[in-house]
């Protein structure tokens, strides 16, 4: 019978999570890259809470918006590729968390803040951005790229093999 808590199932689900988040980032990035009308300005201009001033200032400056748009489009695309391929996984994970934290901070769903932008669900403090951010934190704590990813080729030796892989090996030889 399949042991849902076996190290290999744990590893498999973590890799699946990494692939799904990578897929999401990659498509978000490419969709923006290929849409000549996309800009972050509208989203930034809706900003609320503490960092509202900064984000609105960016939205109001054509130069800043252009830079933010490029960072966003290419950031999402490269992070997505990194997560999918397991290439520079840790860096991609951290970068992804930073980006998600920024999205969250632009428009946090706190009590008292109402946004005009269409939303596909109902949120109170926790939204899907925050959940995706937490999922990346899980991936950071349980890295999979050096076993199930191209990091295996570029980062052999050095730091310790991830715990679940250790466990997987031990499990395999029990």
């Amino acid at each position: 019978m399949l042991d849902l808590r076996s190290p290999s199932v744990q590893a498999g689900t973590l890799v699946a999570l990494r692939l799904l988040i990578g897929w999401h980032f990659l498509y978000e990035g490419l969709a923006k890259l290929l849409n000549p009308y996309w800009t972050s300005a509208g989203y930034l201009a809706e900003s609320q809470w503490w960092f509202k001033g900064v984000f609105i200032a960016i939205a109001a400056s054509p130069t800043a918006v252009t830079i933010v748009d490029y960072l966003n489009m290419w950031g999402l695309t490269l992070i997505g590729l990194g997560l999918m391929l397991g290439l520079l996984t840790q860096a991609a994970t951290v970068a992804g968390m930073v980006l998600l934290a920024l999205y969250y901070l632009v428009a946090p769903p706190f009590v008292g803040y109402v946004y005009g932008m269409p939303a596909e669900g109902s949120y109170l403090i926790v939204n899907k951005v925050l959940i995706e951010l937490a999922a990346l934190a899980v991936l950071l704590a349980h890295p999979t790229g050096r076993v199930f990813g191209l990091d295996r080729f570029i980062m052999r030796g050095g730091t310790a093999v991830p715990a679940f892989d250790q466990a997987a090996r031990e499990g395999a030889h029990q």
Binding site: V15, R18, L19, G22, W23, L26, Y27, L30, L34, N35, P36, Y37, T39, G42, Y43, A45, G53, I56, A57, A59, A60, S61, M84, L85, G86, G116, M117, P118, V147, F148, G149, L150, D151, R152, F153, R156, R169, A172, H173
Partner: protein, 526 residues
């Protein structure tokens, strides 16, 4: 040596075959991604191409942007301003002369909210090579403000400050002074025709605020005077310069809407300010205001009255209320896009339902115009006590066009032209076929809910080649360009005549409680 290598027995780059496979485990997923992505992109591209080809409208800004580049201003034009209230001050600022206090306030507003670009837009205006040499206002405080603005040091394009304008207490003296080449009239409506006629008789070009006149008789007299003199005339409907209005004209010309049978123009405001309950200046009194002169051409003479002076739009003695102030804008927008001209008939109704403050103009007002020759009705509807934005909508058999700061076109579910495309799933009638946001890079034909939301937000400014400019500035620049180099203004006396007559038909209908018609042969309201 690990157990894995012993087990597999074959190695690559020092790794077992099994660990290489593990490392490449995500590659097939990436393959699935790439295939799905390309399929989706192909489908979207196909949809977009089909749609734009079908519509016959191109993606960029309006094909013909009037006055996109104004010719370099040669001769310096000396401007006179008659009426330096809110609108007069705004017009003079858009000509390149902001009041110093305005500059200071705009700077503070920008510091507080970086989205506030008023000052940047002002400083980015073209230098129109004009000087404000004369100011006429019956209220001392406003005349002084005009003089202060005329010599402001902070000018667009780093232009130099000018010597102060001279104040005139009578506009006739201003016109006869020989110190002005052209005049802007921004007084209450009851003065417009008289001033324009006098300027025309001296051959002085006029930029006149809307509504062009207050009565039908004034409209004929003003039209004749301007035609006879041949002066360059511009009526202050700055929407003529709006990029979304120009793009809308293109959409109509491409016949995307099919037969348009109903056009709905609306005004919804919900504040005392929006209902013309404007500030009464603390220094306003019989010594600082030449009341007798102010009410000279008015239908009724009344004792000195601060409300009537500062909130003149609330009385028929000086204007026509919603009709001349806001219906006139909506009508001119529609007239620009469809070229409607004067309607055959109108029925108007309304009342003073909310602002029972002594005014005699209605605060709720509807006018239904018939254009049997064009097979359409234009309906205007307004309240000053509700802010629900209903916009300007052109309703055709095949599609609806909604014009605000931006523009969006939605197909009709039962459209003849788009029926097949709707069935094939190429067009979704529940959301816009395309939106056009002035200043963005062009038409967005795969409109998402978010894009639709942002497009629906009104924009105060219009754009030329992606640069934000005020429509007022362009409208004045166009007038000056015609003065210097000849050519037409976009809201000339013909359009002005249509505007004034159309508004006055509604006013007459409301006041007389009957259906009012236009006799195109005798050119009279009957």
């Amino acid at each position: 040596m690990s157990d894995e290598i012993k087990q597999s027995g074959d190695q690559w780059l020092g790794m077992t075959r099994r660990s290489v496979l593990k490392a490449l485990v995500s590659v097939p997923v990436l393959g699935v991604f790439v295939v799905s992505f390309l399929r989706k992109k192909a489908a979207d591209d196909f949809k977009r191409r089909e749609l734009l080809a079908e519509l016959g409208v191109h993606e960029g800004g309006p094909a013909v942007i009037e006055n996109a580049v104004s010719r370099p201003p040669g001769k310096r034009v000396r401007l006179g301003i008659i009426g330096f209230g809110g609108e007069g001050e705004s017009l003079i600022r858009h000509a390149g002369f902001a009041h110093p206090q305005w500059v200071e306030d705009a700077r503070l507003a920008h510091d507080e909210d970086p989205r506030d670009k008023e000052l940047e837009t002002y400083l980015g205006q073209d230098d129109l090579n004009v000087a404000v040499t004369a100011v006429c206002d019956v209220f001392d405080v406003r005349a002084e403000r005009g003089i202060a603005a005329s010599q402001v040091a902070v000018r667009p394009g780093g232009a130099a400050a000018n010597p102060p304008a001279r104040r005139f207490r009578r506009y006739t003296d201003l016109l006869a002074s020989g110190e002005v080449d052209a005049v802007i009239i921004a007084t209450p409506d009851h003065w417009h025709s008289r001033m324009t006629i006098d300027a025309a008789s001296l051959g002085i070009p006029v930029y006149c605020e809307k509504c062009m006149t207050r009565t039908e008789a004034e409209t004929h007299a003003m039209y004749d005077a301007v035609k006879r003199s041949g002066i360059v005339f511009q009526l202050g409907h700055q929407n003529r310069q709006s990029e979304s209005h120009q793009k809308a004209r293109e959409v109509v010309a491409a016949n995307i809407l099919g037969p348009v049978t109903l056009v709905e123009g609306t005004t919804n405001r919900n504040s005392p300010w929006g209902a013309w309950v404007w500030d009464i200046h603390e220094e306003g009194n019989p010594r600082t205001i030449d009341w007798a002169h102010f009410q000279e051409p008015a239908a009724h003479r009344v004792p000195f009255n601060l409300e009537r002076f500062f909130r003149w739009r609330c009385w028929f003695d000086y204007g026509t209320g919603l009709s001349g102030d806001l219906l006139s804008h909506e009508y001119d927008g529609v007239n620009m896009i469809l070229g409607l001209g004067i309607p055959r008939s109108v029925v108007a109704s309304g009342g003073i339902y909310y602002f029972k403050d002594g005014r005699d103009v209605p605060d709720v007002f509807q006018a239904v115009y018939e254009y049997p020759d064009r097979d359409l009705t234009f309906m205007y509807s307004a309240t000053l006590a509700n802010g629900n934005n209903r916009g300007l909508v052109f309703m055709g058999h095949d599609a609806s066009l909604r014009v605000s700061g931006a523009l969006s076109v939605s197909a009709e579910r039962d459209s003849t032209r788009f029926g097949q495309k709707i069935q094939d799933g190429l067009i979704d009638p529940s959301r816009p076929m395309f939106t056009y946001r002035p200043g963005s890079k062009g038409i967005d034909a795969v409109t998402s809910a978010t894009a639709e939301y942002f497009a629906s937000r009104g924009l105060l400014y219009t754009y030329r080649g992606g640069r934000r400019v005020s429509a007022y500035h362009l409208h004045i620049a166009e007038w000056l360009d015609a003065i210097r180099n000849g050519g037409d203004t976009s809201c000339d006396i013909e359009r002005g005549f249509e505007e004034a007559i159309t508004c006055h038909m509604a006013t007459r209908s409301y006041l007389e409680g009957r259906r009012v018609t236009w006799d195109p042969v005798r050119r009279r309201i009957v």
